[in-house]
Amino acid sequence: MHRYFLTFLAAVLLAGCSRSVSNPAGEKVFTVGMSQCNLGEPWRVQMNADIEAAAKKHSNLRMVFKDAQNDTLKQRAHIEELVSAGVDAIIVSPKESQPLTEPVAKAYQAKIPVIVLDRAVQGDDFTCFIGADNKKIGKAAGEWLRNRLGPKATVVELKGLMTSVPGQDRNQGFRAGIEGSGIHVAFEADMKWLEPDARKEMESALARLSRIDAVYAHNDPGAHGAYLAAKAANRHREMIFVGIDALPHEGIAYVKQGILNATFQYPTGGAEAIETVLKILGGQQVPKTIVLGSRVFTAENADQGGESLP
């Protein structure tokens, strides 16, 4: 209901504003449309929150948020609505690459700057793509474990949905990171990004393996589920837990509470998107692709905001 209200509010706002509105300081106010594919995932909620927080710092930006509720055609309609409403820039985090390529290209051809966040579209009819590299993050997690575990260490890998690209990349990157170190993945299972499933799979791993040195989960809820299973079996002290995403209220909180040993940030790029929008609206050139860096959070550095990865 909240969401419908927002959409309604957005529609009213869009209908009511022409392009030459100015703020109390007399500057021109730019309207920026944000098309989010799905607010069901905490990470995407965080992305919108990051964008909102960054935009609030600039009195000449007005944001219009749209949530496609995981529906590709709805997202397409949202982009078209933003174009016809004549917004000054569009930020879009697409649900799917192929079906949203054309709507994005049309907006771009209508001379509206389009920033594509997280998932790319095809071709190059967009202004700028901002995203992180899951393979790189998986590899960093592998290398981090490699430095902490001896050779012949036994690792459990709890994978995200393996039909999804992030799951595949976090798997491949990790395997590249531990390659040649002698670290052995003794149990791997697809927990579909879900914490209850991660707990179930971890219980099976505990039943099968008499020694586990580390758990690598493709997201923080997965690592948390594994911790709960190990704690219930009173074996949580024999292993270290590593997750990915590092959302403030999830992964970073778990690290600070001593549940996870490390979490690797998958940045939302929200702040960078607003920064890029401002540059474009200010007439500056921006690169076609911006690859976001990641940070690692451990008990030692979580309070200082983590440590950036090379």
Binding site: A189, P196, G225, A232, H249, A253
Partner: protein, 317 residues
């Protein structure tokens, strides 16, 4: 009853054949198989009552999410004692069930439609009250930082084990609910009325049974079970996830059907649901300890579902 036991036997034999280096023979494996089946089982108990009347309740998964969020807010955020938070969470679940039931008996909506509406509505409520994020022990302070609190003692109690660590508390909760629902269904007038309604609603009405009241109560009981499942889910996850319980309604229905309760209503037994729950629980566990890839699991589950239903089919259908 015997026929349902055949399905369970097949699954257990499967486990003995693929015991994953002896992991199947460990006590912990059986305890964990029952633990992870318990939430499904609790839902299936309520579902059995509704299915016996010839109805269906698609909303249980969403009610799990909604009550898990509410229960977590009450215990983690507001530190309410258990004797307020548990009844409140149960009341929320019962209320959701009452709305579904009321839609079924008064405007005479199809149970499928009425509970489908409740399914999306309750999910929306879960997302609204939680603000779309998980209710966890990291409390937002409003300025972007978080304050950390302890996991409530109540959560630890529900997620604990008894009998020297050999039986999970949630399994005890499930067995208690199955026993209570079983007695109500088999011995109580209300339970007998449910069979009569499921067998022939018109005949039941003409015989002077309070059809509307009994049906409404079946949905209330189903909502109540979903709330219990939501409490157990929250305690096991140590948080209230607004997405919790997604798709659980289908597992619950599958359990009821594997047990042998007729989807058309009028026939069924809580003991069958108990066997169905254990069958599904063991099946999941065996696939998991053998680290069967996801694609294979889905196909195997489908095959075994059909096989289980076929083994307990009556000669004349």
């Amino acid at each position: 009853m015997l026929r349902a036991a055949v399905a369970l036997l097949i699954v257990i034999l499967l486990g003995m054949a693929f015991h994953a280096d002896g992991a199947f023979y460990k006590v912990g494996t059986h305890r964990d198989a029952l633990r992870q089946a318990s939430v499904y089982g609790i839902l299936a108990c309520g579902m059995t009552l509704v299915i016996v009347t010839g109805g269906i309740d698609l909303a249980v998964g969403s009610i799990v999410g909604f009550t898990a969020v509410c229960f977590s807010m009450m215990t983690i955020w507001w530190s309410w004692p258990w004797w307020i938070s548990v009844p409140s969470a149960l009341a929320i679940g019962a209320a959701c069930g009452a709305v579904s039931g009321a839609l079924v008996v008064w405007p005479r909506l199809q149970p499928f439609i009425a509970t489908l509406a409740m399914m999306v509505f309750a999910r929306g409520m879960a997302k609204t009250v939680s603000g779309g994020v998980k209710v966890s022990t990291a409390l937002p302070t409003g300025d972007g930082t978080f304050r950390y609190v302890q996991v409530p003692e109540l959560f630890r109690t529900i997620d604990s084990r008894i009998l020297f660590g050999n039986l999970s508390m949630v399994t005890v909760v499930f067995l208690a609910i199955a026993a209570a629902a079983g007695v109500l269904l088999a011995r109580h007038i209300w339970g007998r009325d449910l069979y009569a309604i499921g067998g022939n609603e018109e005949a039941a009405r003409l015989s002077g049974l309070a059809v509307r009241r009994s049906k409404l109560l079946a949905y209330v009981a189903c909502g109540l079970c979903a709330a219990v499942a939501g409490i157990c889910q929250a305690a096991q996850e140590q948080q209230g996830d607004p997405e919790a319980g997604g798709g659980y309604e289908l597992t619950a229905i599958a359990i009821v059907v594997i047990g042998g309760t007729n989807l058309m209503g009028g026939r069924g037994h809580m003991g069958l649901t108990l066997l169905g729950t254990i069958t599904i629980g063991y099946l999941e566990k065996i696939l998991s300890i053998n680290a069967v890839p996801e694609a294979g699991r889905l196909m195997l589950t489908g095959v075994i579902l059909v096989a289980a239903v076929l083994t307990q089919r009556r000669r004349r259908f």
